[in-house]
Amino acid sequence: MRRFNQWLLLPMLVALTILTAGFADSGRRYDDLGHEMMCACGCGQVLIECNHMGCPDSGPMLAELRTAIQRGDSDNTILTAFQNKYGPTILAAPMLTKFNIVAWVIPPALLLIGIGATLMLVRKWKLRTVPMPNVPQEPAFRTLRDRIRRETEL
């Protein structure tokens, strides 16, 4: 029965994936791209979230964005056009070009290196057979550590 359910779930997921594919309507794209850019007025807010009163830029920029989407421009074309017009700071995140790739690569790379290093460290510690360094073993010390262990038992 369990196996039967597993086999039933898989085609259901595939069917749902196919059914929902390509539903990225223009409203969704407008919202997504509006979140990919900053408002040019200097308020420091994402374009679509700029709520600053009498903002001279967000209205015209959003109108430009709507026109570009209706014209059928691709996301990349729209972002590049905005970048050319308003400068590189208009994009809310660096594009995957030249040096900017570094911004995206470094954090996940560091995580992977860290995981690898931690695994190696644990392995090295496990394999090490040298005796542990001598630590002072005063009675007061042991009593304190016992108390700490009791109180911090996790």
Partner: protein, 692 residues
């Protein structure tokens, strides 16, 4: 009063300078055995008293500034720029931290207050406290120098004194702003204490882990303050800024998150040092980094190094902070190199599948998260240096890079409690993982049927749904893991005492407050993650509304009942009265406002929010159509936001519980019970240690 304040600051500098010098000389004499004209003990005592005196001086200076605000003394430049006659009393008090100079005075005052408590409680360990006191005095000297020479809060206006001030920034005229900055500063400044103890312990080659035991409560309280400060700021942004969100990955927000991440890592990894004498160097550097990141955060808000909507005006004090950071780093590095042999580990990891390694990974992920935030914050500066042009690193970057890291951390939150110290057998893991894994799988399927479609990451490139789906599933995993830990322990107590399950759980928690308080904190973190996961399903609608006109958003219909304007001495306001219907039934009336503050000539939105556990109906008055005179209403439907605030309360409660001494220990010391009874209790508590 300005003269009194200036004098108090100067006195504070002298006293903290004396505390540093005399303390350092006394400690040097004590360590080398040399003696001067005054015995080192007496010299150290005068240093301690001078440190206490510096708190009184800082208090006088802070009082003088608040007094100037309340008496409308606009001859003081700071009061002129941050207050006005019509400003309500609580906000006049908040003027203390609303500007650069005042907030630095708050830093100095809180630091002195922490120092005051530390110096009063010096008997807990006289020598170690003397070291910590001298180090704190060094930090105080830096802040008093700033206040006396670089950012003077009592400088006077030149020429005729204006009749009224320019007022407080309208965004700060909100009740939470009276609490949020002090909370955040209590967090930032508080990390100075464990830092001072760690550095002092290293300098004096303090034997053992007592310094951690002494500073454990300091660190937890500080961490709690920082947590509350960060989330109060998020709530303030949500309730006041009117953009529908609570976290914008602004550099100043990031600045508060970085020490929180390293502080959280420290709170976890010190347990390894306490229990197994491991990771000593790591812990020392974690607390050093946390303190330096607190200073870096303060630097970020003041130097103009990165653009931020929250930053204070650009000023030259950035170079002071850079110099201080370099000095701190140099002192820490030098001390570490000199005494690193003292930090040798006493034990090694015995298995990859153990509580120790889960802490290692937890630390790794927290530090990578911290680095990601730091990297994103400084990448615009780096980009300008390398490419010659600045780029923006905002929410889309962090959502793509930091969210997966956060989810990995959530996963570890569930795994950690299931592993035992030293080593865990695969049989035990399998047994402990079954229930949480089933809960995660069931939740994953249920939320898919509830409309969370993870496959949208492939079809519409919508990562939000996918991450939310993962977050909900992991939340179920962690909650089940935590709950099964509680139940396992409670059942043992129940068997021994015959109490009901709830009473057994309470007793279990009281027996080991740190462990179970920690689990409650983890539960709170899960609840926060659930709230954050709702962000992927936000909806918004903007519409101009005339009388009796309405629009729909989600299950709600919003109808304009009226719109009008009003004014008082502080501000003019435009507002709309909106009736909210659900299923044809009126459920509430909302009144979003737009205020224009007379003194500062600035506008501010006052959000109207109808909050339920399912979602927030968040409405702002976006302005008036100049052609029709009708209000433009912007409404957001933000799912699960309330869960974030509930999660924070749970985190605070859990931390509070973890701060309380264990029942058995407290009772044992209070009643001096026979040894065998205490031993029996410990045995029972040990029996409740499921998974260990």
């Amino acid at each position: 009063m300005p003269a009194f304040g200036s004098f108090a600051l100067l006195l504070g500098l002298v006293l903290s300078g004396y505390s540093l010098l005399a303390g350092a000389i006394a400690l040097r004499q004590l360590s080398t055995g040399s003696r001067g004209r005054v015995s080192p003990e007496r010299l150290a005592e005068t240093a301690r008293r001078a440190g206490i005196g510096s708190f009184i001086a800082a208090s006088c200076a802070a009082f003088a500034l608040v007094w100037a605000a309340f008496t409308n003394d606009f001859s003081v430049s700071y009061i002129l720029h941050h207050s006005n006659r019509a400003l309500p009393g609580p906000y006049k008090f908040a003027a203390l931290w609303s500007g650069q100079e005042g907030s630095l005075l708050l830093w100095a005052w809180l630091l002195s207050a922490y120092g005051f408590v530390l110096r009063l409680r010096h008997k807990v360990d006289v020598t170690l406290t003397a070291y910590a006191s001298a180090i704190l005095a060094g930090i105080q000297v830096f802040f008093f120098l700033l206040l006396n020479f670089a950012a003077t809060p009592f400088s006077l206006v030149s020429g005729a004194v204006p009749q009224d001030g320019f007022g407080l920034n309208p965004l700060l005229q909100y009740p939470e702003m009276v609490i949020h900055p002090p909370m955040l500063y209590l967090g930032y400044v508080g990390f100075s204490v464990p830092f001072a103890f760690a550095l002092g312990a290293l300098m004096m080659r303090y034997p053992g882990e007592k310094w951690i035991h002494i500073t454990r409560r300091w660190t937890m309280v500080t961490w709690l303050f920082l947590t509350c400060g960060i989330f109060l700021g998020a709530h303030w942004a949500y309730a006041v800024l009117g953009w529908g969100g609570y976290w914008g990955w602004d550099p100043v927000e990031n600045a508060s998150l970085m020490p929180w991440l390293t502080g959280t890592a420290f709170l976890h990894s010190v347990m390894m040092q306490e229990k197994r004498g491991m990771m000593k160097s790591w812990n020392v550097w974690l607390i050093f980094s946390t303190f330096m990141l607190s200073i870096l955060g303060t630097l970020l808000t003041r130097s103009g190094l990165v653009s931020s909507v929250h930053a204070f005006a650009q000023s030259s004090i950035g170079s002071w902070f850079w110099a201080f950071l370099v000095i701190v780093l140099a002192v820490c590095t030098f001390t570490y190199i000199l005494h690193r042999d003292h930090l040798k580990t006493e034990n090694k990891l015995e298995s990859l599948v153990s509580r120790e390694s889960s802490f290692l990974f937890n630390n790794l992920v927290l530090l990578v998260a911290c680095f990601t935030v730091l990297w994103g914050t400084f990448f615009p500066v780096l980009s300008e240096y390398v490419q010659g042009n600045k780029v923006t690193v905002s929410a889309p970057f962090y959502n793509r890079v930091a969210v997966p890291i956060g989810l990995f951390l959530l996963f570890l939150t569930g795994i950690g409690p299931l592993l035992a110290w030293r080593s865990t057998s695969f049989r035990s893991i399998r047994r402990n993982l079954v229930l949480p894994s089933i809960a995660a799988l069931v939740t994953a399927v249920v939320v898919m049927f509830c409309g969370v479609h993870p496959w949208e990451i492939f079809t519409t490139n919508d990562q939000g749904s996918f991450y939310s789906w993962v977050a909900f599933s992991l939340a179920a995993f962690v909650v089940t893991a935590v709950a099964s830990e509680f139940l396992r322990g409670a059942h043992v107590i129940q068997r021994h005492t015959g109490q009901n399950l709830f009473a057994s759980m309470v007793q279990l928690t009281r027996r080991n407050t740190r462990r179970y308080g920690g689990y409650i904190v983890h539960f709170g973190v899960v609840v926060i993650f659930i709230g954050l996961a709702g962000h992927a399903f936000n909806q918004t609608q903007e519409q101009e509304l005339g009388f009796k006109q309405s629009f729909h958003l989600g299950p709600y219909r919003i109808e304009c009942l009226d719109y009008s304007q009003d004014s008082n001495s502080n501000y003019d306001t435009e507002f709309a009265l909106l009736d909210v219907y659900r299923g044809g039934k009126k459920i509430t009336r909302l009144s979003p406002e737009l205020r224009f503050y007379t003194a500062s000539q600035q506008t501010s939105t006052i959000v109207a929010n109808h909050s339920t556990p399912a979602w927030d109906l968040y409405v702002i008055y976006a302005g008036k159509n100049p052609d029709t005179g009708q209000p433009i209403i912007k409404a957001f439907l933000n799912p699960l936001v309330m869960w974030i605030w509930i999660g924070v309360v749970i985190v605070a409660v859990g931390t509070g519980i973890a701060l309380v001494p264990n029942m058995s220990a407290a009772l044992a010391s209070a009643r001096n019970r026979p040894q065998d009874a205490s031993a029996k209790e410990n045995e029972m508590a040990a029996a409740g240690r499921g998974g260990d």
